[in-house]
Amino acid sequence: MKNFFENLDKTLEHRTRLQITSVLVANDSYDFIALKELLDTTDGNLATHLKALEREKYISINKSFIDKKPNTRYKITERGRSAFKKHIDAMEELIKQQKK
C-alpha cells in the first residue's frame, strides 16, 4: 500500500500540473493562450504551475514572435513524458489496490 503512494510524482500530484502535462503529452506543442482557454484558469495560476514544471525539466519553453506579438509554446521533455507515465501507472495501481 505505502509503496504505491511513494511512486506518485510529487510535482504532478497537483491537478493543474497534471492537466498541463497531459495536454503536452497528447500534442507536439501548445501555446500559453490555448492552454489557458483549455484549462479555464487564470494567467497567474497557469504561469506558476508552468514554472514549477519547467524547474523539474518536465517541459521546455520556446518563445517567439508571431505578427510582432510574443508567443510562448510549451513542449513535453522526455523526462516529463516518463514522469507522467509513471505517475499515471501509480494512480492506476492505487485504484486497483483499494478496490480489493
Binding site: 497534471l18 492537466q19 497531459s22 495536454v23 497528447a26 490555448a34 483549455l38 484549462l39 499515471i88 485504484i95
Partner: protein, 205 residues
C-alpha cells in the same frame, strides 16, 4: 476519499487529452446538408450532360464551353454552400459548448486537411491539362479520402472510416471511367449523409 480524488484526476485528464487534440465543434448536420447539396448538384450536372440528343464525347466538351462552364459553376456552388454550412454549424456548436471555433485544434485540423487537398487539386488539374478526363473523378475522391484520414486524429473516429469509404469509391471510379458523376454522387452525397447522420445521432443530441 483518496481513491475518489485519483479517479477524478484520471477522468479529467482523459477528457482534456481528447479535447486538446480533437475539434469537437464539427456538427453532423453539416455533413448531412453537404451531402444533400452534392446530390442536388449531381442531378443538375446530369441534366446538363445528358439532356439533348447529340452523342457527347470529350472532344465535344472541349469545344462546348457553356456546358463545361455550367458544370464548373455547379461544382463551385456546391463546394461553397458546403463550406459555409460547415462553418455555420460549427460556429453554433462551438457557442453551445462554450469553446471557440478558431483555436489550436482547428488550426491543426485545417493544415492536416489542406495538404492532401491542395496536392490533390493541383494533381487533378495536371490530369485535366493532359486530357485524362476519365480519371478526374477518381483522383478527386481519392485525395479527399486521404485528406479525411490525415485529419481524422483531430476529428471524431467516424471520419477515418468515411475516408476509407471515399478511397474505395474513388478506386472503383478509376476502374470504371465514364461514370464519374455517379461515383461523385455516392462519395460526396450518400456517404456524407450516412456519416453525418451517424455523427449527429452520436454527438449532437
Amino acid at each position: 476519499m483518496e481513491n475518489q480524488r485519483i479517479q477524478q484526476d484520471l477522468e479529467s485528464i482523459r477528457h482534456l487529452m481528447e479535447r486538446s487534440v480533437k475539434f469537437i465543434s464539427l456538427s453532423g448536420l453539416s455533413g448531412i446538408l453537404s451531402g444533400v447539396y452534392a446530390l442536388i448538384g449531381a442531378a443538375l450536372a446530369y441534366n446538363q450532360i445528358y439532356s439533348g440528343e447529340v452523342a457527347r464525347t470529350v472532344t465535344y466538351y472541349q469545344g462546348n464551353f457553356p456546358v463545361v462552364r455550367n458544370l464548373f459553376v455547379i461544382a463551385l456552388v456546391v463546394l461553397l454552400a458546403s463550406l459555409i454550412t460547415g462553418w455555420w454549424f460549427s460556429f453554433r456548436k462551438a457557442k453551445k459548448l462554450k469553446t471557440k471555433i478558431w483555436n489550436e485544434t482547428s488550426r491543426r485540423l485545417l493544415i492536416n486537411l489542406a495538404i492532401p487537398l491542395i496536392v490533390g487539386g493541383i494533381f487533378t488539374l495536371v490530369l485535366v491539362y493532359h486530357g485524362h478526363y476519365n480519371v478526374v473523378a477518381a483522383s478527386v475522391l481519392i485525395f479527399y479520402g486521404l485528406a479525411l484520414i490525415n485529419a481524422s486524429s483531430n476529428l471524431f473516429e467516424e471520419i477515418r472510416y468515411l475516408g476509407y469509404c471515399e478511397l474505395v469509391v474513388g478506386l472503383i471510379a478509376g476502374v470504371l471511367p465514364g461514370y464519374g458523376l455517379y461515383f461523385w454522387a455516392v462519395g460526396f452525397g450518400l456517404l456524407h449523409i450516412l456519416y453525418g447522420g451517424m455523427m449527429y445521432r452520436k454527438y449532437d443530441r
